[in-house]
Amino acid sequence: MSAQGLHGETSNRPVPLLDVRDLSVAFPGHLAVRGISFQIRRGETLALVGESGCGKSATSLAIMQLLPRGTRLSGQVLFGGTDLVRADAHMLREVRGKRIGLILQEPMTSLNPVLTIGEQIAESLIRHDRLTARLARARTVELLDLVRIPDAHRRYDDYPHNMSGGMRQRVMIAMAVACNPELIIADEPTTALDVTLQSDVLELLDSLRRQLHMGLLLITHDLGVVAQWADRVAVMYAGSIVEMAETHALFERPLHPYSRGLMGSTVRLESGAHYTTARLTEIPGSVASATGETGCTFAPRCPQVIAQCRIAPPPLVPLPDRLAACRLATETPKEAARVAAGC
């Protein structure tokens, strides 16, 4: 642990790569993200973890300003000092693809079916780096090599439907890193892939991040992925961040009841547990019960709920090694530690 604050800010590097402040996203009839804040530095991986519907995809799209028309946005997204929320279309087009790369979840539908994959990668290079067609093609082949696609020269002229899911995702990665961006946002990059391919793709992503010294925002619902590949974690529930800490700190001692529920619902390989001896703990209820709540959004499902929780939502409060939004964790740390030790 260096002189690094819990949001990721460093005292000797005043401007983090990405600084999200109080971001809220509202779709018609549904408040998806409720005033969240976090920061990412170059070279580190922040994982945004939570179940479906917690607002993590909305967050990633909000950063890139790619939300559909009719969505309301508030807050700030400071990238290299510029607020993307207030940036004009021209500025955004300069940032997208060139300084921030996006990897989406479904490689099948995320690629244009009528263009070759080579053309789609070269597009970025021609647009941002102003390469000629020939140079772009050469560079694209290099990129395909970089993402470990065999026979890159011939693969350039393949169409997406000629490739397997794993290869298509690599193409997406190649497209995202083509112009040496400073930040990569990967939204569930391996969810649609076979388990066997998942670690390959993640390992590739991680090595590229180190090679190109990029920041990585890794959005996932898979705790295993988080444990293995993330430096810091932010746990999201119903549009809010409920806990944010360095990965090892969170996994050793999750404080927020939701985080604890998530940990408990996985079986760790080392624990030696077997399905006959250890049960997966469920978190009762569903996310839908969070809408319209005036208190803590997790209160309806929380095993440690107290009266005050239903009146006002707990603020995200800095603790020695993390941030947590739970009265139990922040106001009675000894009690919290006792409960945590029991899990």
Binding site: D22, A26, P28, G29, L31, S37, R72, T294, L316
Partner: protein, 295 residues
């Protein structure tokens, strides 16, 4: 610094409401409502033709070639023989609507039967019917109609039959596709296992489910039939005893240079009626295939 704390409850953000409900549908589709309105007016005029303009619209009632609004007794003017244009329009509405609906009905019946048979039974029955459909579609529709009208004599029933016979392939294709997909569904298997006859399965089980796109196409077919009839009458292949919008356009063609309103007015009437039908068709399409609201 604690200014980084988050506030979950009171947000300075207005959450836009999502719209739903049937009232919103009509309000949100003013074009559908407009189509219904215009069509209703045309129907009313057609129904009231004998009341508004009793007698034969082909009677010569006034001085020839009066311009619209020149003489308020003939608000839309008169043609070269002194016939009242307004009377012709109103009676012509009748002709157009009658032919439009009956032709569409004939086409629907034939097309549905052929499509259902082919789609349900498959095999060589389907093959033959598909070939037949293709055959009919390769011959230019309008030419086929002309030939059929030439076989019979030019009269309303014949024209309606001709247009209907020429237009069934579209419906047949549609119905066949629907039947082919629906016959694989579980409810059909259930009906079979209950021992229902083929006829019962076709008409009672599958057909009601296959209807939505057919209903949408029906309005388009009526519109197309009206347009075809207009063309036929324009070419003097319509019923010589009846005034229709097409025959008025044809008749006005001689006077195009001087009295072009004779051609313009019946054309506008046709266009408005067909427009109304298209708006209705579009509206029905929205109702049966609602697009997801943009998220």
């Amino acid at each position: 610094m604690s200014s980084d704390t988050t506030r979950a409850a009171s947000l300075p953000l207005f959450v836009p409401k999502s719209r739903r409900g049937l009232a919103a549908l009509l309000l949100g589709h003013p074009t559908f409502a407009a189509g219904l309105f215009i069509f209703a007016i045309v129907v009313l005029l057609a129904l009231g033709a004998d009341i508004l303009y009793p007698g034969d619209p082909q009677d010569m009632v006034g001085p020839p070639l009066l311009w619209p609004f020149a003489d308020m007794e003939y608000p839309l003017g008169t043609d070269s023989l002194g016939r009242d244009v307004a009377a012709g329009l109103v009676h012509g509405a009748r002709v157009s609507l009658i032919i439009g609906f009956s032709a569409a009905a004939i086409g629907l019946v034939i097309g549905t039967l052929v499509g259902a048979a082919g789609g349900f039974f498959g095999g060589y029955v389907d093959n033959i019917l598909v070939r037949l459909t293709e055959l009919f579609q390769t011959v230019p529709t309008f030419l086929l109609v002309i030939v059929i009208v030439a076989i019979g004599e030019p009269s309303l029933p014949v024209m309606a039959a001709a247009i209907g016979i020429a237009s069934w392939p579209t419906i047949a294709r549609l119905v066949r596709a629907q039947f082919r997909s629906l016959r694989e569904q579980d409810f059909v298997m259930a009906a079979r296992s209950l021992g229902y006859s083929d006829a019962r399965i076709i008409f009672v089980e599958i057909l009601p489910n296959a209807l939505p796109p057919v209903v949408v196409t029906a309005s388009v077919m009526v519109a197309g039939a009206i347009l075809t009839e207009t063309g036929l009458s324009f070419l003097n292949m319509g019923d010589p005893n009846l005034v229709s919008w097409g025959s008025m356009i044809g008749g006005g063609r001689e006077m195009l240079r001087t009295a072009w309103f004779l051609t313009a007015l019946p054309g506008i009437a046709t266009a408005l009626t067909v427009l109304a039908l298209n708006l209705i068709g579009d509206g029905l399409n929205e109702v049966f295939n609602p697009r997801m609201r943009e998220r």
